[in-house]
Symmetry: C4
Subunit: 279 residues, 4 copies
């Protein structure tokens, strides 16, 4: 009898698991879409709450909505743990931690006022969309993006480190040249200005006014012009390289050992030496 | 007799059709060029009407000119429908809809004042230029542009979605760090600032003033520096790939050993020495 | 006797020609370098003259220097015409016209005050540097730049035309949304703002203040983010393509017909069918 | 006896040398890391000293810390000279000069007040990190960066020279068009503005206000849009080229038919079927 209940419970658990974690069944897809909608809504709520006019008018409504969503998210979190055979795997995964952090701030707001703002971290849950849209093509694109960024990571870190050293030096020079009257009040502020300029953002809250300062600034800008080419070059070469590999995918298979043969004028398999016939 | 009129009418219809839709005859080219000029003029008129000093001086003249152009466009629209054998094809096509929307606002302005401004949508008619300049080479270029953009669309959508999530999180952080005094009045405004910064536009209407804010902003800018490389890398790889494909498209096959021959002035197979015949 | 004078004159003419136009002899090089220095100086003079503090102090000195340089340039211009066998070729060439325009404004300033400012066109003479540094490698680089830009010209024109149409439409939308209070005083100004934003320049002299305006602006910026990738992609693909062609230069020569063979695994010349021996 | 002392001293010298210059032993690595930490600290100190609030509070502490660090750096500098067999090699090397300049400003501050600020040049010592992290892979990346930048140097110089000439001409035009009221107070300032615009930095401290000025500015911006593509294209093509060369570098030759084999796990020649031996 007890066993029977256990089996029934197990079946229920599996059903819930498929709905919550899977996205192949209709129910699973529906669940995912609704969840995504609720996440979007909750992120919007946190955002709108900080707009004073809206908060003044709809404070009550916003608070209640947010509590409802937090309770829904809490239930979802519990369901995810219960329905999973290896709950620890989920709890310690990236999404498991994000899901927990998404609901904690609201409960913490009882003890620490203002912590509610942290709920905005829920935006990270929107990354789930990539999991939901697990069409082969789409995720292929995503993982290609990831690969290209990963491959160029070291080069970009070296590059950023170098840019920072240059910024410190140029920042110090501009501090000496422009002085406190032009807004270059300290070396850290000058470095901030230098980064703003090198990245071509250019707020204009601080701008050189002396002639020498403007000449140095021009020099920095033209340098930044050339420098912006470097990360672009790195990532592009990575993408282009991956594309080439892709292209080589129109390959033949060795008839005897099924090794992929990339050279299109190959006459023998490079793996087993078998002759490849021309059709 | 009636048939005769019909045939005469049919011939007239075809003549008009060739003039309006075609651009191979002299009359057709002339029509296209005049039309393009009138479109340009009408877009200019709508634009200038919003400049207060000009409107004050030439209001009467501007209004009358615009009405004349609208009537001309209306006649053209009717002609396009009449002269076309399958008018629905035209009416429901992209240009058909644009042509209709280009004339509607003026008539609507009788009922809804201020709707005349919408006439600016006529600018879309300028896209016709691509149709007029249907030189093989030129449209080849255009369609290559289109293809490259289409091919990289998915990757760019994934990328923009990712950038938006990052902007929400960073915007919220900056809102907490900078507070309302620095212009970061709400999370939506902070997100707006974050997009302005990540895209390296940098208006400077909102800029961080606290030290921590400036450090985070520097971090965002340097990140944006690396991030701007991603769409560039995607599109460039696409272009470069197409360039390669182009090059590979003019290959022949050796008749005796089926080796691919890439050089288009090759007279002998580089693999087996067989003569390749010129067609 | 007369003939003798003519020959002597002819020899003198040729000597001057070699000094002025050539840059292989020592005298020719010296002339070029001094000329470049004088051009740089004259451009600097025109520039400094517009700085009020400097002009107030050194007005007399600046004017006299400029007149001296103008006279020197005039003499050089006359010498170039006299020493050239086909003076019209020089006069109608790009540099010939530039040289004339460089000296005219000073003489015109007798009749039209203020026209002296146009002397700044002398900066174009600085382009001569490319002619002077006619090292093979260097000009190779320059012409590669020119080729890449020329090859991508059509694509870039199509692209800019498209961007302009988009700017008109978005500018009109922003004019309607933001209105005159936010600085969007007319559609042309809005279009100006839109170009400032799309190109990621972002002065901040005009910036959206309404929520809807900021949302649309964010959208425009992210679009600009993707759009900036297009010209970069076009030019880069062009450069990469040229590089590939370069790479193919490590080729073999057919021993019998001296045709260049680009495929490195070729066993027969593709032109004459001769067998290529492996060394 | 004296010889014995000399040998002992020589052994000590070598030990110190390995610790200071090497980074393979534990002591060497520890020394490098501590040194890097002290450098970072000293750069931070110089930077913070210029922040008025901090300087007012902790002036005494900052001065003393800086003196301690300067003494430490001086000792290190002396050790480097003593422990090196060829001290001149070190003294005249890039790092030798940087190390000297890093300590001089503090001692000079006795005679020239304010020269202490120059200590910020210590930031250059941070470049040592590249030497410390001499992992093969990492420096491979670094040198690839260096190579790509070196290879595209000539092209970029030509490009910058060209941009400067364009800036002078456009700057002069904007000076004439906008005049002194809009902030374009002189041609040099206009050139500065032009560079700010062409590089898409766009501070907005100077911005065109007349209609004609805004039209020209729009034209400059769109040009800058296309121009920014050029350095990017140059560097990217360089990177992509190097990537290709990399790939081609791991090729073997078939021992019997000398065909190049690009797949590194190939066991048979794809051309003649000969077995390739593993070394």
């Amino acid at each position: 009898m007890k066993n029977h209940i256990k089996t029934k419970y197990e079946i229920l658990r599996q059903k819930i698991y498929i709905i919550i974690y899977g996205s192949n069944t209709f129910a699973g897809k529906l669940f995912d879409l609704i969840l995504l909608g609720v996440i979007l809504l909750s992120v919007l709520l946190v955002m709108l709450e900080t707009v004073e006019q809206l908060d003044a008018k709809y404070h009550q409504f916003l608070i209640i909505s947010e509590w409802i969503i937090t309770v829904v998210f809490t239930l979802e979190y519990i369901m995810r743990i219960i329905s999973n055979k290896k709950p620890l795997n989920y709890i310690l995964s990236f999404y498991g931690i994000v899901d927990l952090i998404s609901i904690l701030p609201m409960y913490l707001s009882f003890f620490i006022p203002g912590s509610r703002m942290l709920s905005v971290i829920r935006a990270l849950r929107l990354l789930r969309l990539f999991g939901i849209l697990n069409l082969v093509h789409f995720t292929g694109q995503e993982s290609q993006l990831k690969l290209a960024i990963k491959a160029s990571r070291t080069k970009i870190i070296v590059f950023v480190y170098f840019v920072l050293i240059v910024s410190i030096l140029l920042g110090a020079i501009m501090y000496v040249v422009e002085g406190k009257e032009s807004g270059f009040t300290s070396i850290p502020v000058s470095i901030y200005w230098c980064i703003v300029t090198l990245t071509t953002v250019g707020y204009g809250d601080i701008a050189p006014v002396t002639t020498l300062g403007q000449i140095i600034a021009s020099f920095i800008m033209i340098m930044g012009y050339g420098i912006i080419a470097v990360p672009t070059g790195i990532v592009t070469a990575e993408f282009a390289g991956m594309k080439n590999k892709d292209k080589n995918n129109d390959v033949k298979k060795c008839p005897s050992c099924t090794t992929l043969i990339y050279k299109d004028d190959a006459r023998y398999c490079h793996h087993c030496g078998e002759k490849i016939c021309d059709e």
